[in-house]
Every structure is written in structure tokens, then in C-alpha cells.
């Protein structure tokens, strides 16, 4: 058995976990005051409107913090790998925890522009990020 713990898909989180099938990073947004928020919830945290739903975000983000995981927690996890909290260009206080790919551990920096890329796993698509080309 490979170590690939996956999310339990529900009505609330399905747009986020399944948007990658069509290349879309779907984040919840208020249709009244236009605030983005994550994780998905049925109410806008700013104006308390319940008129909210997933919208397609740009997929662009910047690295807010990172760690280079060296410990082999499980034989299936090939270390080292780079983990990051990234803040979305659409609204920087919305962050995602993600794994950076196509990025050597020595190259990662705070503020580095990254873009989403999806990795299929069973019935969901993981939003991973990679450095924007030319950076």
C-alpha cells in the first residue's frame, strides 16, 4: 500500500478537490462583497452573507513560508521535498499548504512566484505548485 492519504470528499470541499480535472483552482468566494476565503464554508467571513460559492482563482501565488522535509516519514515518501504555505495572488490572506515541484530545495525563496499544477490521485486532483517560468 502506498502512502497517499487523501481527503474525504464532501459537498463542501468537492469543488476544491475536483477542480483540477479541468485545470481549475476553485476557491470559495462571496458573491456580495467578493471576498475569497478558504477552507470552504457556507458563509462569508467578512459580510456574513450566505450567498457564496466556488469560483476559479488565477492559480498564481507566492511562497509565504517553506520547509524542506528531509525525514523519511514513510518508505513511500521520497525525501527531500519542499512544502510551502503559498498566498494566492487573488487575495494574499488566502493561503494553501502545498508541495512545490520542479523546484530544487536550494532554490525556494519567500516571495517566489508559483503557479498551480494538478496531480491526479484516485478521485481527486491535488493542487501542487511550481515556480513560474523565467523567474
Amino acid at each position: 500500500m502506498t502512502f497517499q492519504p487523501l481527503p474525504m470528499v464532501t459537498d463542501d470541499n468537492a469543488p476544491f478537490w475536483e477542480g483540477g480535472e479541468v485545470g481549475e483552482l476553485r476557491i470559495n468566494r462571496c458573491r456580495e462583497c467578493r471576498t475569497w476565503f478558504h477552507p470552504p464554508a457556507p458563509v462569508c467571513p467578512e459580510c456574513l452573507s450566505m450567498n457564496v460559492g466556488p469560483e476559479v482563482a488565477s492559480g498564481r501565488a507566492k511562497v509565504a513560508a517553506y520547509t524542506i522535509n528531509v525525514q523519511a516519514w514513510s518508505p513511500e515518501l521520497e525525501a527531500p521535498y519542499v512544502l510551502a504555505y503559498v498566498e494566492l495572488d487573488d487575495q494574499p490572506d488566502v493561503r494553501l499548504t502545498t508541495r512545490l515541484i520542479d523546484c530544487a530545495p536550494a532554490d525556494v525563496r519567500v516571495g517566489m512566484p508559483v503557479e498551480v499544477t494538478f496531480q491526479a490521485a484516485e478521485d481527486i486532483w491535488l493542487p501542487l505548485f511550481r515556480p513560474v517560468k523565467g523567474y
Binding site: 500500500m1 502512502f3 497517499q4 492519504p5 487523501l6 481527503p7 474525504m8 464532501t10 470541499n13 478558504h38 477552507p39 509565504a64 513560508a65 517553506y66 520547509t67 524542506i68 522535509n69 528531509v70 525525514q71 516519514w73 514513510s74 515518501l77 521535498y81 512544502l83 510551502a84 504555505y85 490572506d93 488566502v94 493561503r95 494553501l96 499548504t97 502545498t98 508541495r99 530545495p105 519567500v110 490521485a121 481527486i124 491535488l126 501542487l128
Partner: protein, 401 residues
């Protein structure tokens, strides 16, 4: 959001810690959770000068969890039944302000008269569980689908708290010029104090070279930035102040910090260079006239060295962002004879992961003057802070005067 206003007679001052107990603590003891718990509980009851029949309340953190081997082997029902306790109030669970939440619940219960003597405990046997090939600290190793907040971390292989905390530490280093050597001072300090504590697990000297050359876990956190899984149990008795039988043993509760005003999340917290500890500490100080300069000993969560540094900052022992300058002082700052003796029992880094309750036990030892070789002379005020990330709670304790 405002913090509850200070009232003339604060509820937490109606409660005291009347007794403490600790089981054997060690690696691979091969003991069950309930066995360790009963040992600690009976010691605490006897220490308070009480009998089993006096205990009318029980509280624990985080409740029994079969899914996380060794992390929470024993819950409230099992202990109540083992000792056939007749209780008027009880509470166990994890949705509280970090590990000390069970203590806060007990204080609230005795302060409003639901119970007179609450037995509070925390038990782990992670070391024994690991021997059996099960690892509690790697989330997702159970193989089933993940819900709740963990679903947004673990599928990306951010499987360990070392990863989540590592990102916070990296950001603070980037923003404020903290270096690994500064965090190393916390690890070295813990080891120096562990050498003076017969019940600590790792007591051999640790040098800065050892620290810097140890293998990396999750940058910038290396092996000695991470605490040690162990087996053990701590129990204490929280009593109504006017019902405590032996005033010589009493430790007073000055104020509690249980606030969380930031997002209840690892990755969404507004300021990645602070944690829940900052919210909790602000509340604690708002409920007392004492100041950080009044603190004689600090017992602050060092599940990772970085979390301990965050507690020091949160509690106001140095201004925001100035951890490097403070920790550079090493032993003269945080050693036994220093400005602020820190983690005098060796902390979780060297004495074992009793998950918040080792600090509480040690703070009581210090305030009762029972620290032996590691006693802080004239200790009258001690602070305990536990938790990291979105988890945080702290308590200010004083010697009975």
C-alpha cells in the same frame, strides 16, 4: 474582539492546585495507559492529603483516541471506572485551548461549585506504541481518508507537526534574522537542566556542535529541535481554594490565558510570525497585576524548540521579532541562575513528551521549593504555556503566601 474584562474577584483565584503526581516516565516502559494513569492519580490524591472518596470531578486532555497510537491511550471513563470514582462533574476532549484546556475546565468547574476536588490527568505511551510499529506523530499513517483541517495539509505530504512548525520557523528566520544557533540555545538549556533531574530521559551533555551537526528533520528544524516520545502520566488535583486540606501544599492560580483570536488553522493565521500563544498570553496578562518581570521560572512548550521561542515572545520576555538577541545570551538568560530560568526539568526536549503536563508538574515543584539540585531560589511566580500553531493556553501560578 475584546478580552473578558477583569473583575474584582476573578474566578480562577477560587481554585488552587492542591496535589501533584507523576508516574514512572521513560522509554519503552511496556506499560498500559491506565496503569500509568492510576499510578499518577493515586500519587496526586495522596500528595493533596485527600482520599479517593474526596475526588468528585475528573478532567483530561484530549480524551481517549484509538486512532493515534500512544498519544491518548486513556480517557476519563476508563480512569473513573478503574477507581470507581463517584463524580459530580467530568470532562474530557481535545477541542479546548491546547493541552492545558483540561486544567482550565477543572478550574471553571470548581470555581462555580460543580465539584470540590477535580483530578486532572494527561497520559501518553507513545514510546511503547512505536515499539509496536505504530507511529502517532505521522498523520495519515492509518490509511483512511482524511477530513477536517488535516485534509488540507496531509495529502501534500505535510504529514508531521515538524513540517507545519518548520514553515513558521522559516518565516520568522526570514523576517527577523533568527538563526538555528539561537534555537539551539533552547535545546542545550533543556539538556543542562535534564542533567539535574533524575527523572529526565536524556541527561548526557549536548553541545552546540552536536546540535548543528545532527540530521535535519524539516528545515530549519533538526533532530534536537524535536522532543522525545515517551511513556508517562501526570496528574494534579484542582481544588476549591476553601476546600483544600493542606495549605502548605497549595499552588495558587493567578490567571489563565485561553484566548484564540486568530484563525483556528495552521496555514490561515493572519501573521505567520505569531501563534495562538500570543493571543493566550495577552489574555493571561490582562487578568493579573503581575508582569513578565515578576516571573521567577518559565515552563514553556518545547515540543519543538521554535514553539518555546514563540512562547517566550508571546509572554513578553522580549519584544516582537527580537528572539535572536534574547537567546544569544544562552545560559545567562534562560539557565538556572539566569534572568529567566526556563524548563528547569529538561522540558520535553530532554525530559520527554508528557504533552504539556510535565511543565505544569515542574512549575508546582518549583513553587513548592521541592526542586532539589534544580531549585530556582525564591521561586514565587511561575508561568506555564502549552501548545503550538492554532493551539495555545497558558497559566500563571504563584506560591501560596
Amino acid at each position: 474582539m475584546s478580552i473578558p474584562a477583569r473583575t474584582p474577584v476573578l474566578g480562577e483565584r477560587n481554585a488552587v492546585i492542591s496535589g501533584i503526581g507523576q508516574s514512572a516516565v521513560g522509554r519503552k516502559l511496556g506499560r498500559t495507559g491506565i496503569s500509568l494513569t492510576v499510578e499518577a492519580a493515586l500519587a496526586a490524591i495522596a500528595d493533596a492529603g485527600l482520599t479517593r472518596d474526596d475526588i468528585d470531578g475528573v478532567a483530561s486532555y484530549p480524551g481517549a483516541m484509538d486512532s493515534s497510537p500512544g498519544m491518548a491511550p486513556t480517557g476519563v471513563p476508563e480512569l473513573k471506572d478503574a477507581l470507581r470514582l463517584k463524580v459530580n462533574w467530568f470532562s474530557g476532549g481535545g477541542e479546548v485551548p491546547a493541552q492545558l484546556g483540561a486544567v482550565f475546565n477543572a478550574v471553571a468547574a470548581v470555581s462555580c461549585g460543580l465539584a470540590n476536588h477535580v483530578l486532572v490527568f494527561r497520559t501518553v505511551n507513545e514510546s511503547t506504541a512505536q515499539t509496536a510499529g505504530r507511529r502517532a506523530s505521522v498523520v495519515g499513517s492509518g490509511g483512511s481518508r482524511i477530513g477536517g483541517a488535516m485534509q488540507y495539509l496531509v495529502p501534500f505530504h505535510a504529514v508531521s507537526a515538524a513540517n507545519w512548525v518548520g514553515m513558521y520557523a522559516q518565516r520568522y528566520m526570514h523576517q527577523y534574522g533568527l538563526q538555528r544557533e539561537h534555537l539551539g540555545q533552547i535545546a542545550l538549556n533543556a539538556r543542562r537542566h535534564a542533567a539535574l533531574n533524575p527523572r529526565a530521559i536524556f541527561r548526557d551533555p549536548l553541545t552546540m556542535d552536536d546540535y548543528m551537526n545532527a540530521r535535519m528533520v524539516s528545515w530549519p528544524l533538526g533532530l534536537y529541535d524535536c522532543d522525545i516520545p515517551c511513556d508517562g502520566s501526570v496528574a494534579l488535583i484542582v481544588s476549591r481554594a476553601d476546600a483544600a486540606p493542606d495549605l502548605k501544599q497549595v499552588v495558587r492560580i493567578e490567571s489563565i490565558g485561553s484566548a484564540l483570536h486568530g484563525r483556528d488553522s495552521w496555514d490561515q493565521r493572519e501573521d505567520l510570525t505569531t501563534m495562538a500563544s500570543h493571543d493566550a498570553a495577552k489574555m493571561m496578562w490582562s487578568r493579573t497585576d503581575l508582569k513578565p518581570t515578576d516571573v521567577d521560572s518559565a515552563h514553556l512548550y518545547d515540543g519543538f524548540s521554535y514553539l518555546c521561542m514563540q512562547w517566550l515572545e508571546a509572554l513578553g520576555f522580549f519584544p516582537k521579532g527580537e528572539a535572536a538577541g534574547f537567546l544569544e545570551g544562552g545560559e545567562s538568560r534562560i539557565g538556572l541562575g539566569g534572568e529567566l530560568p526556563l524548563n528547569t526539568n529538561g522540558g520535553q526536549l530532554s525530559a520527554g513528551r508528557l504533552h504539556g503536563y510535565g511543565y505544569l508538574h515542574e512549575a508546582c515543584v518549583q513553587l513548592r521549593g521541592e526542586g532539589g539540585d534544580r531549585q530556582v531560589q525564591g521561586a514565587e511566580v511561575s508561568v506555564v504555556g502549552a501548545g503550538g500553531g492554532p493551539l495555545g493556553g497558558c497559566i500563571l501560578l504563584t506560591k501560596d503566601r
